[in-house]
């Protein structure tokens, strides 16, 4: 079934390839390679890099702490409404991130259904703070972790744990010596995916947490802001994000 393609296929396909390749080529060609290190270590860039690293890691940790138990619940238990829960987990995957940001404001904003009582009781507010960035990233990125780990747990299906029990292992031993080692590779893969998605987060962050240098201006926001100020900064930081994306692939 493999045949040489005729021109009515080759021409539009070639256009499509050019269209997808040229922007990446542009990024590589127009990068200020001679000033790369200088631009990368400018105060604004460094602040954005540091903030992205810190919030990205924090989001990944939160996603793991909350997401792994949720994955367990979806994969292993008989909780009612599991189908609904699974749909709930996938909504952030298809929801435009800006809408996610608005939704987060309505829930955790100063006048949100949770944020208002939270501020009244504790004085804590989330929007336009670094923790707010983490909230936005977790909302958008956690589903990747949940879905990956849930898949691994389903694949595990309890048979190996059962074998371990017949060999005399206690519940704690089974968890430590069988379950954890088996899920570890998927957990790492899910965490990497989550970290990458958190790093690239833009819409929900700018909507929920704003764009304050050093506080909520992560890499993608710095790229966006750099456009109006120092375009070479935008290009350099874009390359950093492109490199992360390609590494994750």
């Amino acid at each position: 079934s493999a045949t040489a393609p005729p021109w009515p296929v080759l021409v539009p396909a070639g256009l499509a390839i050019l269209f997808l390749a040229l922007p990446l080529l542009g990024l590589l060609v127009r990068a200020p390679w001679s000033r790369f290190w200088e631009v990368l270590t400018s105060p604004t860039s460094l602040a954005a890099l540091r903030l992205s690293l810190v919030t990205g890691l924090a989001s990944t940790v939160v996603a793991v702490l909350l997401g792994v138990p949720l994955a367990w619940l979806l994969a292993r238990s008989t909780v009612p409404g599991r189908r609904f829960l699974r749909a709930l987990v996938t909504v952030p995957l298809v929801l435009p991130p800006v809408v996610g940001g608005i939704a987060l404001l309505l829930a955790f904003g100063r006048r949100g259904i949770v944020g208002q009582p939270l501020e009244a009781l504790t004085g804590i507010t989330l929007p336009f703070t670094t923790p707010g960035v983490v909230v936005a990233q977790v909302f958008v990125a956690m589903p990747f972790l949940v879905i990956t780990v849930e898949g691994a747990l389903r694949g595990l299906d309890g048979k190996l744990e059962e074998a371990a029990v017949t060999l005399g292992a206690s519940r704690v031993e089974v968890f430590r010596r069988v379950t954890v080692p088996l899920v570890a590779p998927s957990l790492v893969a899910g965490a990497v995916l989550t970290f990458a998605r958190a790093l690239g987060e833009f819409g929900a962050t700018i909507t929920f947490a704003g764009n304050l240098e050093g506080v909520t201006q992560t890499l993608p926001l710095a790229v966006y802001t750099g456009l109006e100020g120092d375009p070479s900064e935008a290009v350099v930081l874009s390359l950093v994000l492109l490199a992360v994306s390609v590494l994750v692939l």
């Binding site: 048979k159 190996l160 059962e162 017949t166 060999l167 005399g168 292992a169 206690s170 088996l182």
Partner: protein, 353 residues
């Protein structure tokens, strides 16, 4: 070491398993039965993975499950070795560490458990595999490691759940021979669940046939193979089993028709007649000769079985007949072909139902 004995009762919805079981130390008992007969449930109940809902089960002098007295020993504390059909080796551990798993679980140090596992590796002829991961093993190797893992944990009894079912034909042969050799390493009672009659015939000292949750026949292998008591065993062994009523050297079959039997023993009342499919001949025209049983039939099915072709022929009685491929070509056998059947009285095996 001492035996396994008791009555196992498990009720799951509409299904009820109720089996008296008695396996002496060193004895291998095969539980043979169709899917859904409760074979695996029996095994899981003995292992403690599925609690019994009735009865009472002892391992040696220890009662391990007795619902009425609220006694239930956890699976990990029974020290029963279980070999699963799908191996269930730990993929993140080497073969050696898989074998050491049971010892580690019983509190033996890492070094010591590895040393002891190494002894088993050698005893079972797995030296070349010791440092490989399960994913790199063939099915046959994996099942040998799985048996080794169970043996290395020093079990008081062994349970094997269709240990050869997932293997291809050639490998099954190797592992069966290997099992036959190494099941003697088990000092305690061994229970082998299978749906392959050959496993039961070759590996077991005694066969228990389980159907619909109950034992329908038990005995030594040759006994079960020659004189099947139920339709299931007969079909499994490919023997025609015809129930009927005997009187005066003739059996009036329950399904229609009658057969002359030559047995010297005087049979009376309800009997079973076993006829091997190769003991029946097919003819295009009415045969003349010494065969005392001749009847007509219509071909209902034709299937190849190794070098023979199995033909199902409707008639009184309806039987399966094995013929050579040459006969298929000569008689142009296909569904609907009408023909004559004959069977010598001396080829019929008659015994009380």
């Amino acid at each position: 070491m001492s035996g396994l004995s008791g009555q196992v009762v498990v009720e799951q919805g509409a299904f009820r398993l109720d089996v008296e079981i008695e396996v002496a130390a060193g004895e291998v008992v095969a539980v043979l039965g169709p899917n859904g007969a409760g074979k695996s449930t029996l095994l899981r109940a003995v292992a403690g993975l599925t609690p019994m809902t009735g009865g009472r089960l002892s391992l040696g002098t220890v009662v391990v499950d007795h619902p009425a007295a609220d006694v239930l020993v956890a699976p990990g504390e029974r020290r029963i070795g279980l070999v699963f059909q799908d191996y269930r080796l730990f993929p993140h551990l080497s073969v050696l560490d898989n074998l050491a798993f049971g010892l580690r679980s019983s509190g033996v140090s890492k070094a010591e458990s590895r040393r002891r596992a190494g002894v088993w590796v050698t005893r079972l002829g797995l030296d070349d595999l010791a440092h490989r991961k399960p994913a790199t093993l063939s099915g046959g190797q994996a099942q040998r490691v799985a048996l080794g893992r169970a043996l290395a944990a020093d079990p008081v009894a062994m349970l094997l759940d269709e240990p050869l079912a997932a293997l291809d034909a050639g490998t099954r042969l190797d592992v069966r021979s290997w099992l036959r050799e190494h099941l003697t390493d088990v000092g305690g009672p061994t229970l082998l669940v299978t749906h392959d009659p050959l496993d039961a015939l070759v590996l077991a000292d005694r066969i228990v046939v389980l159907e619909g949750g109950s034992v329908t026949q038990q005995g030594e292998p040759w006994e079960v193979a020659r004189r099947p008591a139920t339709r299931y065993v007969a079909r499994l062994l490919g023997i025609n089993l015809l129930p009927g009523t005997a009187a005066g050297g003739e059996v009036a079959l329950d399904g229609g028709g009658a057969l002359h039997v030559a047995d010297d023993a005087d049979h009376h009342g309800h009997v079973l007649v076993a006829v091997r499919p190769s003991a029946i001949s097919l003819h295009a025209a009415e045969p003349e000769g010494s065969a005392r049983n001749v009847w007509r039939g219509v071909v209902d099915g034709v299937e190849p079985i190794g070098d023979r072709v199995r033909v199902t022929v409707s008639g009184a009685p309806t039987v399966i007949v094995d013929v050579t491929p040459g006969a298929v070509a000569d008689l142009r056998l296909t569904r609907g072909t009408e023909l004559w059947l004959s069977a010598k009285a001396t080829e019929l095996d008659v015994y009380p139902a």
